[in-house]
Symmetry: C2
């Protein structure tokens, strides 16, 4: 059964099509939604752009990530709104509107997996698939008070989903509680290729925490204490290579070049209307030089090697997911842009490395949720989920 | 069965939902589509605007005009593209693209019932519902080489369809041939409340014909001769009250005011993205004064009385549907605007009066179709269809 009542404006209003799921299975009692980037047989794939939607046609295949949940018995309830072509982080779609943040209705949900976070935080389904290229699962998880993971790059297949920047794109998911999150993770992730040991080495990147306003750091204090109580004392470290400035720019350059390779021909051939910010980012991306891209690639390799060395096989970084609670819905584009640019500095750590990051909804500020994250080495995704359980359930 | 292959880009890509039609009935061998302004249970109603679509939800009722075709056994194949909020005449939707003109693929289809005309002219269905407020059935019928009618205002109910300007809005339909058109008309129109006599008085409005370039008048000569041969000699007359200048402006003022009353709160509350031209027309409409509107209403009443007197109970005006064949797809917005403004002068005759006008695809120019119209007194719709049969079938 598809949800027709959609008080959260979380779903694309597609007519319901029967999507069969296994009658039994580990997730047979759960409902799920999928970001409108994933193909689901019987539905179009809109990608948050009306012309992309109009040209989609009805898909005849279902993306493997969606199929995995169906095979585990979870019932599909609909396709959720996404920021336009997934190339934004606010959850405001100029064409299709803004899904409601179920945990803070006066604030943006965050994006680009906006509708998935909206649906789960509003209780319209138990879990939902999103994608995270530059923060599109982590940002809305933090904003909407959800557990959300950006898995190791390549860990969950993204066939049958619209690309943004393939060397960054990942398939993640949300849940309201750690038990549900763990059950979904079991199905989506399987066993870790590089499981963490029982005793992990907790790391606290002082440069990342230093990006936050003191009142935000303070808002995380109780959560930090809880994490330390569960996992042991944290050692200070530095996350960035040199500083966050080159991290930020090299991340944007690589993502932008790939985004232009993905969507540039659609944009130049059809000149689709693009919302504020999105148009500018694609224009910026189209003008990047090969030299900039080559230099950014080399930087990424150096950064990844440094982070891999720092984490080793037992290191887990604990860092703020986002710079603050979600901005108010009434924020103007320029203040949202500033917030987004701050956020990229935190989010690019896992993004550039391709390492998994799990956001836990353990903090609040101004009555709104605020996520704190665990970031581990490549292939430690399930171990991070297990750590989250230890932190939350004791 | 819904058409999934949509080479003409005529349909909104909604997942197919079973819509039951009568097993037997006068139209049981026909397929039809409906402009995405009409509610069809199981589908959203998008109205050519992505935010309107996103807020639509799934409709639980079917518009009576659609139901009439279902009850006659016609099979529903899908919802067709419309110009944005039906407030345009070109068939180019900035968000969802341009449906293909099946009779002249290098030319615009015309709108706002663009997808319906595209689907029928491309052979994807036998008939299709459109709406005509200021020309939205007549323009695409002329451009796509189809029979198309703007019925007497109020003749076919428009409940369950998105309004534009209610005192102008009508429900019309298209077909490729006069036989099919007559069969659909029989179901949609029933018997005439003011049938024309067997011998009609043909009128040729010299002022309307005088708006055309000589080569366009010439392109209509054979069709005109055919009409005269079937219906008798035409007497010259004048269509406009005074001139086309006040006709044009009063038509735009009344339509604009009503369009703003219909969509103004949606636009001011949600600031949806609006395509080029549409945004400007709504802005212009929002600024109309009550004095302008009152004066235009009085003008419309005078014009309607004059046209009713001219036509009496047996008068049928024969006039060009549009100023020329459809503009090329490569036309820029300003030349399309100029064409549209010329077209309004022809189209506002039936629009201001609320009288029926049937466009017949009898002429061609530059290898593209060109419609010629019969315009009769209020309630003579079916009689016009019968005249079309006499003209075409002899």
């Amino acid at each position: 059964m598809l949800l027709h009542a959609d008080p959260a404006h979380a779903f694309m209003p597609y007519p319901p099509v029967a999507v069969s799921s296994a009658r039994t299975g580990a997730l047979a009692d759960l409902t799920f939604a999928a970001k409108d980037l994933f193909d689901v047989a019987g539905y179009p794939t809109g990608g948050g752009n009306p012309l992309m939607l109009a040209q989609s046609g009805i898909k005849t295949r279902t993306a493997p990530a969606v199929q995995a949940l169906l095979d585990a018995g979870a019932r599909f309830v609909g396709k959720t709104h996404t920021d336009e072509l997934a190339f934004s982080m606010n959850g405001r779609n100029a064409h299709f509107g803004t899904p409601r943040n179920g945990a803070a209705p006066d604030r943006i949900p965050g994006g680009s997996s906006s509708g998935s976070a909206s649906a789960v935080s509003s209780g319209l389904c138990d879990t939902a698939l999103g994608t995270d290229t530059g923060g599109s699962v982590r940002a809305p998880a933090s904003h909407c008070g959800l557990y959300g993971i950006r898995p190791t790059h390549g860990r969950i297949p993204l066939h049958g989903a619209l690309d943004l920047s393939p060397s960054f794109d990942t398939c993640g998911f949300f849940a309201r509680d750690v038990q549900t999150f763990s059950r979904v993770a079991e199905v989506m992730l399987g066993a870790d290729p590089a499981a963490l040991p029982a005793r992990v080495r907790l790391l606290r990147p002082t440069d990342a925490w230093g990006l936050l306003a003191p009142e935000v750091v303070q808002a995380h204090e109780a959560a930090m204490a809880r994490i330390v109580a569960a996992l042991g004392q944290a050692t200070d470290c530095t996350a960035a290579l040199e500083s966050f400035e080159p991290m930020y720019w090299n991340h944007r350059i690589l993502q932008g070049r790939e985004a232009w390779m993905t969507d540039g021909s659609f944009i130049t051939r059809h000149a689709p209307p693009l919302g504020p910010g999105v148009a500018e980012r694609f224009a910026w991306s189209s003008a990047l030089s090969d030299e900039q891209v080559a230099s950014a690639r080399a930087y990424r390799a150096r950064f990844r090697a440094q982070l891999a060395a720092l984490l080793g096989t037992d290191g887990v970084m604990v860092l703020p997911t986002m710079p603050d609670v979600a901005p108010l819905l009434s924020s103007d584009e320029s203040s949202l842009d500033a917030y987004r640019n701050d956020a990229i500095r935190l989010l690019c750590i896992a993004g550039l490395a391709g390492f998994p990051q799990l956001s836990l909804p353990l903090s609040t500020r101004l009555g709104a949720p605020l996520g704190i994250s665990l970031l581990g080495p490549a292939g430690s995704d399930q171990s991070l989920v297990a750590l989250a359980r230890r932190i939350v359930q004791g």
